[in-house]
């Protein structure tokens, strides 16, 4: 068993970044995730693993630093919260369009606008439906514990390089700020420059040596038919991701008459709701999508059709509920319950919603 510590979610992101052998972190302060960069600056990984940490002048700049680092074949990441992610959307679509791997951690807060600094899940659509312009997808992982904040940094880098695509860890102020026990992985070495040349010199900017042509990282294409072919190609990649990398947690679904679908911090609250409901004689189960894209549509459809109805509980005005409705396709009623703007529901409030909207 690895080292076990009591840590804050945001600190764990920094710790996991160092331990997984990341090459660079580029960020800009914003609540509720500033501890990520603060922890990195305190840990000084450039003196140990050689990891570079840069405080940029804006999120526009930090995501473009990520773009530059990813173009070099390096393992690079950033973190931010809702308003900062809005600024990064240009960079995200360029990263997807240039097929570059990177990890973006989004510790979301309440909006719209400057909004609040309390936890919310109202950036589901921005994360899952794109955010930036053009036909593209980013892989989105939703942690529900400090341990998953740690583990998903490793998984996110693996997925990013498997598909050469950005991966977002969509967390929120609850998971970012709370302290929990976490088992830390062993330190992994960073890739050496020689290893990077071996693995990635077919596409990355590692220096044009005599044995190969110059590599060009770009998302520009003047010919619409060539752009169309490129888009088909990345969507084949996305289809493969939907086949191979859908992740979810299934909780007490075997005998369930009713189903809750919830992700991240909300899923934790809903587990309490299930305890209350079951104590009152209602058999309720939970599906927690872990990959918000690719979405576990098949699993949700399969479980939902054996139930009498589905409640989608999310800390927003109704975003993931659209994807659940598409998955369930009218087989049973699907209702939404949410709170918004940084307000968080209690397990009882979700239970009340369940009774009012689904159990009846």
């Amino acid at each position: 068993m690895g080292e076990v510590k009591l840590m804050k979610g945001n600190e764990v992101i920094a710790e996991a970044a160092i331990r997984c052998g990341a090459d660079g972190y580029f960020g800009y302060p914003i609540t509720p995730q500033s501890e990520v960069m603060e922890t990195l600056m305190e840990r000084k990984p450039w003196e140990t693993t050689g990891m570079v940490v840069v405080q940029a002048e804006s999120e526009v700049s930090s995501i473009n630093m990520v773009y530059g680092g990813a173009a070099c074949g390096k393992r690079v990441m950033t973190s931010s919260s809702s308003p900062g992610i809005s600024l990064m959307c240009e960079g995200l679509t360029y990263l997807a369009g240039a097929e570059l791997p990177c990890v973006v951690v989004n510790v979301t807060r309440g909006g719209p606008g400057l909004g609040t600094i309390q936890p919310a899940q109202s950036d589901y659509n921005q994360a899952v439906k794109g955010g930036g312009h053009g036909d593209y997808k980013i892989i989105v992982l939703a942690p529900a514990s400090v341990q998953e904040m740690h583990d998903f940094v490793f998984d996110a880098f693996d997925l990013a390089f498997k598909y050469r695509n950005p991966v977002m860890i969509l967390s929120d102020g609850v998971i970012g700020q709370m302290m929990e026990k976490v088992e830390l992985a062993e330190q992994r070495p960073r890739w050496t420059d020689e290893e990077i040349v071996k693995m990635h010199s077919s596409w990355a900017c590692t220096g044009k040596t005599a044995d190969r042509e110059g590599n060009i990282i770009t998302s520009l294409e003047l010919d619409p038919y060539a752009q169309e072919q490129f888009n088909y190609k990345i969507f084949e990649k996305y289809a493969r991701c939907e086949q191979e990398d859908v992740r979810f947690e299934e909780y007490m679904c075997d005998d369930a008459d009713y189903l809750i679908v919830a992700f991240g911090s909300s899923a934790r609250i809903c587990k309490e709701t299930i305890a209350i409901a079951r104590a009152n004689g209602h058999k309720v189960g939970l599906i927690r999508p872990i990959t918000l894209w690719p979405f576990p549509s098949k699993k949700i459809a399969e479980v939902a059709q054996k139930t009498k109805g589905v409640l989608v509980a999310e800390l927003n005005m109704g975003q993931m509920v659209d994807d659940v409705r598409l998955a369930v396709n009218g087989a049973v009623p699907v209702e939404h319950y949410g709170r918004t703007g940084g307000a968080v529901y209690t397990p009882d409030q979700v239970y009340d919603a369940l009774k009012n909207k689904i159990i009846k």
């Binding site: 590692t206 110059g214 770009t218």
Partner: protein, 254 residues
């Protein structure tokens, strides 16, 4: 008719194209400064023997396709973001040679924050900044550098400072930053200017390799299409109008 064949031998070869310049036909308008500046950078890269360790960052602007002409590794950046992209490449590969190549819209308008802060951090990279006082790529709109009274598609009656502010002299601003070691303004409109410009490019790249800080090379340049002039007229107009506003020569050399 008799055929005259000139034999290509080493003795009668006066000029040969550097292999760092690809054979692709350039898309630039005849008379445009971009092509000449590309050639000079390519020659310096060859002469310094650094083709295998150079990473170029191209902008959005007419020179977005610089990557089709210089045979090195290239990263094409979003509009204005080249400096941020180059920062990461330089930090992650400190022993490589990283440069950006940007127009005046890219560097002095949309990329202002990135371009100032890369200088302020003193990243040891070279910035090649092509100031033609107009947005060439999008069809000749006003740039921050457009001269007072100069007509463009978005100031068809001439740039009016009441409406549009004043020409923006980035070089005179960034020279004040301690992270910047070399600031110079060059042009490529005469053979003598070309020779000087090439020396400036070499100095900038050498500074970068030596880790001296950021080198900022501005080229006062022509955009004859955007200016709606012939190449010859454009060179003359540039000398008479643009150069007095953006005087040539070294501004800082430490």
């Amino acid at each position: 008719m008799a055929e005259y064949i000139v034999e290509k031998t080493k003795e009668n070869l006066v000029y040969s194209k550097t292999p760092v310049l690809k054979d692709n036909v350039m898309h630039y308008c005849p008379g445009c400064s971009h092509g000449t500046i590309h050639k000079l950078i390519a020659e310096v890269i060859e002469e310094m023997g650094v083709q295998d360790k150079t990473i170029g960052v191209s902008p959005v602007g007419c020179s977005v396709f610089a990557y089709n002409y210089l045979h090195i590794d290239w990263i094409q950046a979003a509009h204005g973001r080249a400096a941020a992209v180059a920062t990461a490449a330089h930090r992650l590969y400190p022993e490589k040679l990283v440069f950006t190549y940007q127009g005046d819209g890219d560097l002095a308008a949309i990329g202002t924050a990135e371009s100032i802060h890369v200088c302020n951090r003193g990243e040891s990279i070279a910035v090649f900044y092509v100031n033609n006082a107009i947005y060439g790529m999008t069809g000749g709109q006003m740039s921050p550098n457009t001269l007072i009274g100069m007509k463009t598609a978005t100031c068809p009656y001439g740039r009016d400072p009441q409406l549009h502010g004043y020409p923006y002299k980035v070089a005179n601003f960034v020279c004040q930053l301690p992270g910047v070691c070399y600031v110079t303004r060059q042009s490529v409109h005469t053979p003598a200017a070309v020779r000087k410009a090439k020396k400036a490019i070499r100095k900038a790249l050498e500074n970068s390799l030596a880790g001296k800080g950021l080198s900022f090379v501005e080229f006062v340049a022509t955009c004859n299409s955007g200016w709606k002039m012939s190449p010859v007229q454009a060179n003359k107009w540039m000398e008479e109008n643009l150069v007095p506003e953006y005087p040539l020569g070294d501004i800082k050399d430490e």
